[in-house]
């Protein structure tokens, strides 16, 4: 097997220093996706910097009511946390809709954000894929692509982001905290993942060596009615054909005061539905208004030969979830 170095970091600084010192280094946390990809030859790191034992496994409530989630908090622990269940049910629901119990027990918050697409062409080194090997072409565009993107894809890549958790984080206005050679910075989760454009090999805006240290859930979405709904081929352990995370706050007059709506399974990143949100804000969330708003967003869709079903599927899910939240 291709030899690689293994470094166990004891601090964030040590981890980023180790990463910077070794070309071809990758951070290892739960390893549920990275190790698989290494076995298949998709990932070929020179060094693994193990960050799984860093002291980033806490969930902390800040004085203003925000929730700081350490990067190595396990998906199971995050989903079960009382504050998450009480104030951000959409996140708990999204986590529990993902993967399997065994995977959730080992997968981390940071790793979940960085998992790679499950596009079969990306995972098969004998086939072309611009994400895995830029310039080789996209096997999926004219190939098997029922599960692929309908929004924001490019001629070079039609892959989807597989995360459920990230969709909920997008709807919750979460931010991602990073530490790297250039110091600390914070990125809204909706800007963390990229659209493929001309560089599908870049999933995120992470700079080389940057490490996710935490995810912050802001106080302003805490406690608002929220929900996650996912459609899939089987009842468990299947990626989303389409999913919806929604946060909806209606004022005393019955008008929408706040709405966060994000789609999963439709694009290269969790798709925050800004057009729909703008249409909904300030008016009563009637069935008609919701449908109109969701249609405005999904009017952007450009389905491929075999995945047009995702558009009405996403529409139905969004209308249903928003209507249910509006009735609370």
């Amino acid at each position: 097997m291709k030899p690689y170095a293994y470094v166990r970091a004891r601090s964030v600084e040590e981890a980023t220093a180790a990463h910077a010192a070794r070309p071809g280094a990758r951070y290892l946390a739960g390893g549920t996706n990275l190790v698989d990809l290494m076995k298949h030859g998709v990932e070929t790191p020179e060094t693994l910097v193990d960050v799984s034992r860093l002291p980033l496994d806490g969930i902390e409530e800040l004085p203003d009511g925000a929730l700081r989630i350490g990067a190595t908090v396990r998906n199971s622990d995050l989903a079960a946390h009382p504050l998450v269940r009480d104030r951000h049910p959409v996140l708990s629901q999204a986590l529990l809709a993902g993967a399997s119990g065994q995977l959730r027990n080992i997968a981390t918050t940071g790793g979940n954000l960085l998992q790679r697409t499950r596009c079969p062409y990306f995972q098969d080194t004998a086939k072309p894929c611009n994400k895995r090997e830029p310039g080789t072409g996209c096997g999926a565009r004219d190939g098997i692509h029922r599960d692929h993107a309908v929004l924001g894809h490019s001629p070079h890549c039609i892959a989807t982001n597989p995360s459920d958790m990230a969709v909920a984080l997008a709807a919750l206005d979460a931010t991602v905290h990073l530490y790297g050679p250039g110091g600390e910075r914070t990125v809204p989760v909706t800007d963390f993942h990229r659209l493929p454009g001309d560089h599908p090999e870049r999933d995120t805006v992470l700079e080389p060596g940057e490490l996710i240290t935490a995810v912050m859930l802001p106080a302003r979405t805490a406690g608002l009615p929220s929900a996650y709904r996912k459609a899939r081929d089987r009842a468990s352990y299947a990626f989303a054909l389409a999913s919806v995370a929604a946060v909806l706050d209606v004022d005393d007059a019955g008008a929408v005061r706040h709405v966060g709506l994000a789609f999963g399974g439709l694009a290269h990143r969790p798709w925050r539905a800004r057009l729909a949100e703008t249409a909904l804000l300030g008016a009563p969330p009637t069935e008609h208004a919701i449908a109109h708003a969701v249609d405005a967003e999904l009017g952007l869709a450009q389905p491929l030969r075999d995945n047009a079903f995702k558009v009405p599927l996403a529409r139905n899910l969004a209308c249903r979830v928003l209507s249910e939240l509006a009735r609370r």
């Binding site: 030859g41 079969p120 096997g139 089987r234 009842a235 468990s236 079903f309």
Partner: protein
């Protein structure tokens, strides 16, 4: 119906039936719900599978095959330099350097013997190394050059390459005609003419195909994950030019097969080849990602079913025409039109098979080959006919139940399909069913119920067995049977205990090795009948000898053997089949197009049930696999690259626990069936019939729920949701 009241009623019936099913105090072993003899070993990890640690000597090497990356063509060069330069690499076998083998009957076993690539994924080299990661890395470093040819992997109903074979799988004639099906269809007052499609499916047993091979001089020992050590033994002897006594094959514990381990697969040949070439013991466990291409699949089938009936539901014409694919190197034709030959009385019938050779892997057996896809089409069409007639679908089947086998004209040795349908209808609460489709809405959910019949033939092969009376009062049974998770080991011990007239715990049983008396493979739901007959005969003979024996037992004990070649070779003048009825209740989510099964019931007439515990497990396991066939499982042939797109269990969707109702909402029952024309135990095979009617029952329930007739599986949201709009 369906509602909570109905569910409660059926649960009550459930408990009553459960009480009557299991004898309160089993005086005899057969018919008792004995626990699996190896159950504790399996759950504690003591049971060792083919390539597990117990077989690993210190000098064990590991092999990893290299799959072809073109779908058609020839290997022009294999550059092994980079692979050989890696640390740990012991050898790279190629079509140029691999040991020459004898000619196999199955061309898929001529691995590394020629340069032709018949399909993508065909093995073109084999890396052997000190460790598993070394072997995988070496395989990845092998550089293969091809002269690629254009390929065709797409099955269409009007493909110019289609031909009618002589036979379909199982030796069935490809074509059978009775009367004038076309004229009778044209003259019938009520018709159904429908086409159905079933995608390629994969067996994907939990344990992949895996083998450990070791040479001691000229003796080859192989531990193989196989449904039959005997066929593996015969093939290896032939390929390596060995006498039979120079080969030992062990398949003691097998983590599932579902048909895909019925005959030797390339891995075992490669393992033996690598061990001979390197002089080291070699382990080869195929990676999950390779299985789709190299161990067989259920071929896709295109069906056209035409039913003609009188207004009272009497069938006058039954036509079932099947088109399927096969590979370029071996003909395998899924016998999907065969069950239509025995199911229903009709004076006119046409059943045909056509095959299209494509640049695809060779299809093979997958649980109930023929019956599973064929009965999906036929039983969906019967449901459509019931709708056209305005007749209850249970009643339609009852009205067309034949007195004799419509195809052969022979009497049935036993046929209790009607009893299964009636009993199933009672248990399921069918009488309360409103036949109107699409009228049961609970919020965004539509619910519906469906029924379908099932059948599976009674098959039998010759077997031998021995039994020895031991000094300690125990009895040692030996037979090269295979327990692929079915409970065969346990049931054979029960058969022995009864034939000997002793308690089950005084029987020791040894199976799964070619050192034991010769026996056929576990396949065609025939294992228990075939092995069991020989065990029964040996035990009966030993009982007679013991009765005549005076004085203490000899030192080596007293042994009796049996060989059922003569009995199994006799063809009794009866049509012999098991029958069953499946009932399903589904809910269809109108928001997402997701279909979920709420209740699933199977009622079977399968002769005498020898062990209710393991039988129930087989039935429900088959039904669960049928649920997957209906709702979640499919393999997608990639026309551009020529392989199946699903390479792992994250993308090939076998049902998860969350998809399967829990008991009693999923359950299996059987009707008492005495049939003296089977074997000394009076049993029919039960390993496959559970899958047979389940997909159609679920599909028919989806129609009842939605009013929409889907004719292509699986019923995933991409198919269902657009139709609901």
């Amino acid at each position: 119906m369906p509602g909570t009241a109905t569910s409660a009623a059926s649960r009550t019936a459930t408990s009553a039936a459960t009480r009557t099913r299991v004898p309160a105090a089993p005086a005899r072993a057969l018919g008792a719900a004995a626990e699996r003899l190896e159950g504790l070993d399996k759950v504690t990890g003591a049971a060792r599978y083919a390539t597990e640690l117990a077989h690993t000597p210190p000098d064990c090497a590991y092999a990893w095959p290299v799959p072809a990356t073109v779908a058609s063509g020839r290997v022009t060069a294999v550059d092994t330099a980079a692979a050989l330069a890696l640390p740990g690499t012991l050898a790279v076998l190629t079509p140029d350097t691999a040991p020459r083998l004898g000619e196999p009957d199955d061309p898929n076993l001529a691995v590394l013997q020629h340069h032709t690539v018949p399909h993508r994924g065909w093995y073109v080299a084999l890396a052997v190394a000190e460790t598993l990661p070394d072997a995988r890395a070496a395989a990845a470093a092998v550089h293969v050059t091809y002269a690629a040819e254009p390929h065709d992997v797409t099955l269409t109903p009007d493909h110019p390459g289609a031909y009618e074979p002589q036979e379909a799988n199982g030796g069935h004639p490809a074509r059978r005609e009775r009367g004038d099906a076309a004229a009778a269809f044209a003259a019938a007052p009520v018709h159904v003419d429908a086409t159905y499609r079933i995608p390629p499916l994969h067996n994907h047993p939990m344990e992949p195909h895996a083998a450990y091979a070791r040479w001691d001089g000229d003796h080859l020992t192989v531990y193989d994950s196989s449904q039959g050590a005997g066929p593996v033994h015969a093939v290896l002897a032939r390929l390596f030019g060995l006498r039979r006594d120079q080969v030992t094959v062990v398949s003691q514990h097998v983590g599932g097969g579902f048909g895909s381990k019925g005959t030797p697969r390339p891995h075992v040949v490669l393992a033996a080849m690598a061990a001979r070439h390197t002089g080291r013991p070699v382990k080869l466990a195929l990676p999950r990602g390779h299985l789709a291409a190299v161990v067989g699949h259920r071929a896709p089938t295109l069906h056209r079913v035409r039913l003609g009936a009188e207004r009272d539901g009497t069938l006058t014409s039954v036509s079932h025409e099947v088109t399927t694919h096969t590979s370029r190197i071996r003909e395998f034709v899924e016998q999907a039109a065969v069950p239509a030959r025995v199911m229903y009385a009709s004076p006119h019938s046409l059943t045909t098979h056509r095959a299209v050779p494509l640049d695809v892997p060779t299809p093979s057996w997958m649980r109930a080959p023929g019956e599973a896809p064929g009965m999906y089409a036929l039983e969906s069409a019967m449901d459509e006919l019931a709708g056209a007639l305005g007749l209850d679908p249970v009643e339609l089947r009852v009205r067309n139940d034949p007195a004799t086998d419509p195809d052969s004209g022979l009497p049935f040795s036993s046929r209790h399909l009607v009893e299964c349908l009636r009993e199933g209808a009672r248990l399921f609460g069918w009488a309360d069913r409103d036949p109107r489709p699409a009228v049961r809405r609970e919020g965004t959910l539509l619910t519906g119920t469906g029924v379908a019949a099932a059948t599976y033939p009674v098959l039998l092969s010759p077997s031998t067995a021995t039994v020895t009376a031991l000094h300690d009062g125990g009895y040692a049974v030996a037979v090269n049977a295979t327990d692929i998770g079915t409970g065969a080991r346990t049931v054979l011990a029960q058969i022995a205990a009864d034939a000997l007239g002793v308690a089950l715990d005084s029987v020791r049983i040894d199976i799964g090795s070619t050192r034991l008396p010769r026996a056929p493979l576990a396949g065609g739901s025939s294992g228990t009948a075939s092995w069991g007959w020989a065990v029964h005969a040996a035990c009966t003979r030993l009982t007679e000898r013991l009765a005549r024996h005076a004085g203490p037992l000899p030192v080596e004990g007293l042994t009796a053997s049996a060989d059922t070649t003569e009995e199994a070779g006799r063809t009794p003048p009866f049509a012999r089949h098991a029958f069953g009825a499946h009932f399903a209740e589904v809910q269809v989510d109108t928001v997402t197009g997701e279909v979920r099964v709420r209740r699933l019931l199977g009622v079977y007439a399968a002769g005498r049930i020898l062990n209710p515990r393991t039988a129930r497990s087989q039935f429900i396991g088959g039904m669960t696999m049928g649920l997957g066939m209906a709702l979640t499982e499919h393999s997608t042939m990639d026309p551009a690259f020529g392989d199946f797109a699903e390479h792992d269990l994250a993308s090939y969707h076998v049902p998860s626990h969350a998809d399967v109702p829990s008991a009693p909402d999923i359950d299996a029952y059987w009707v008492e069936e005495e049939d003296p024309h089977l074997n000394p135990m009076g049993s029919k095979g039960i390993g496959e019939i559970g899958i047979v009617g389940t997909p159609a029952a679920i599909g028919n329930a989806v129609h009842h729920a939605t009013g929409i007739r889907f004719r292509e599986l699986p019923l995933t949201p991409d198919r269902v949701l657009p139709a609901l709009a």
